[in-house]
Amino acid sequence: MIEFLQQTVNGFVIGSSYVLIALGLTLIFGMLDMINFAHGELLMVGAFIAVGLASGLGLPYLLAIPLAMLIVGVLGVVMERLAFKPLRNSDRVNLMVSSLGVSIILQNAVQLIWGPDPRNLQSPFTNMQIHLGGMVLNGQRLFVVFVAALLIGVLYYVIQKTKIGIAMRACAFDMETAKLMGIKANRIIIMTFAIGAGLAASAGTLLAPIFSVYPTMGVMATMKAFVVVLLGGIGNVTGAIAGGLILGLVETYAAGYWSSEYKDVISFVIMILVLLFKPAGLFGKHVQEKV
């Protein structure tokens, strides 16, 4: 029983980290209708910058998080200007390819700058263990859950309660008409990327103390984020939460009770099954095309 509870908590916690990874992706995915393969690399760059700030400049971890988010936010904007903006009117698939190019660039640029060695990011919570009725919880992991919840709240507010969220989607759908409505389209897109990249960086900096930091760490993150976003429904924050938690739990139960080799197979199978029965994801609205 304790084991089951512990596994459930494990799944929940790891699920929250997936939510965190997926948030920035679902934002850009939903608003701009593009598969951004560079998302995991933004996360990775965020982690490296935090390492640089914390161990290089000796800044406290809690300060390194927002700073890394800021810097990566700017990086996200630069990336959008250089690699995505010129493709705004072209086929979606070109955007995806461009993002692949960007991810290759970032991965290798980071390796050139920082070298290929894995690193650590120190956090005051890393070595904090909380015992709870036979279960053990790690401080940093709880911190992740806490910050994820906070960011989800903020993001949810931005998208649902502010006009910016709608404006983002409007720009994505029809830039010209969005402009006619008085929306400063360029600014909105810049903002979307800044926020999306900042969220990726937050995931990087928060997860870095739990896992380690190396140039290819983003690849897996991108994949997990895709699964989460699709499970929940593209652009849907509630969906990302559900998707992330489901993925976390499924993986954990699969590894804990069945076969750790096949845990990833199981999560992909679940994703595909969900899509077959709910083609727009668990929380996506499926709209029959009107002709």
Binding site: A83, S90, D91, V93, V97, G101, I105, P279
Partner: protein, 332 residues
């Protein structure tokens, strides 16, 4: 007529190449390029013609490779194994495509990504059959045929050339038949396609099945050429690379598929000179190509030849055939 002449000259060039220029390294790279070209042509059927962007193509390459390797290691002649590999890949393509092709756009892309990873993980974990991460070695070379005994690269070169030409021919026949028109209409607008009498589901599955079969043959060839297989070859990175080749070449274009496959293979090799900057430059190159040539190399070629035609030849109105006009659709 002109096009046929050009194609003939190209073929002549490629046949003559290893004889005139017997450099093992170039031949090797051309063989690798050939494998990629066949693979890109196969992806082009489903992603180019039918517009369903797949991120899991490496799976079929892998299935073909493993099927052929395992069969031939169990005593089945390599040539038979080739055929069986195609059939097995086709069947897997059908089984995977059947449910997934109902999904659209990004959903399809990510679902195929998921399937790609599933296949990779199965290859990795089904140790009894695939030897899993230990990899398969001891794969036989193809049996001697038509005076080719596959002791030298050149023999492999002619085999992949034959495969490539067949794949080009196959693709061209599809493109210039009702199936090609159906696929392109599906890519453009599924509802219109069905309202014009096209059985959308059927053609999608058919394209996916053909695509898988050809990818399977490419895989089988790879297995009997490199003579060693291990699961990490057949991962997302490879699916992405094939898709990149297709996009850089020009989605939906047969000529583009050929150009893209060769271009990326050769450029990657060339970039070796840049040592640690190799991948960085590669990334920049990809971004630049999509930005400056969004229709890929075939689009550029089309433009250039269109320009030449206009200015140099002053040729009037082109004859309107289906493939002659659609810019993303140049026949080979």
């Amino acid at each position: 007529m002109n096009k046929k002449l050009l194609a003939g000259l190209c073929l002549l060039f490629f046949v003559a190449f290893p004889i005139v220029f017997p450099d093992d390294y170039f031949i090797h790279i051309l063989v690798m390029g050939g494998i990629n070209v066949v693979l890109v042509l196969s992806l082009n059927l489903i992603s180019g013609f039918a517009g369903q962007v797949s991120l899991g193509h490496a799976a079929f390459f892998g299935i073909g490779a493993y099927a052929s390797a395992i069969l031939s290691m169990n005593g089945i002649p390599v040539w038979v194994a080739f055929v069986l590999a195609a059939v097995i890949s086709a069947v897997s393509g059908f089984l995977i495509g059947y449910p997934v092709l109902r999904l659209r756009g990004h959903f399809f892309a990510i679902a195929t990504l998921g399937f790609g990873e599933i296949v990779h993980l199965l290859i990795n974990n089904w140790v009894d059959v695939t030897r899993g991460p230990m990899g398969l070695s001891g794969i036989p070379k193809p049996e001697a045929i038509f005076g080719l005994d596959f002791s030298s690269k050149t023999h492999y070169y002619f085999l992949i050339l034959a495969f490539t030409v067949s794949a080009i021919y196959f693709s061209t026949r599809i493109q210039q038949s009702k199936m090609g028109r159906a696929l392109v209409s599906i890519r453009t607008d599924e509802i219109t396609a069905s309202a014009m009498g096209v059985n959308v589901a059927y053609y999608k599955i058919l394209a996916f099945t053909f695509s898988s079969a050809i990818a399977g043959i490419a895989g089988a060839y790879y297995a009997h050429f490199v003579l060693f297989l291990s699961p990490e070859t057949f991962k997302l990175a490879m699916s992405i690379n094939v898709l990149l080749m297709l996009l850089i070449g020009g989605m939906g274009s047969i000529l583009g598929s050929v150009l893209g496959g060769l271009f990326i293979t050769i450029v990657s090799e060339y970039l070796r000179t840049f040592a640690q900057y190799q991948m960085l430059i590669y990334g920049v190159l990809i971004v630049m190509v999509v930005i400056f040539a969004p229709k890929g190399l075939s689009g550029v070629l089309e433009k250039v030849s269109g320009f030449l035609r206009k200015t140099v030849f002053q040729k009037s109105q082109m004859k309107g055939g289906y493939s002659a006009h659609e810019p993303t659709h140049s026949a080979d």
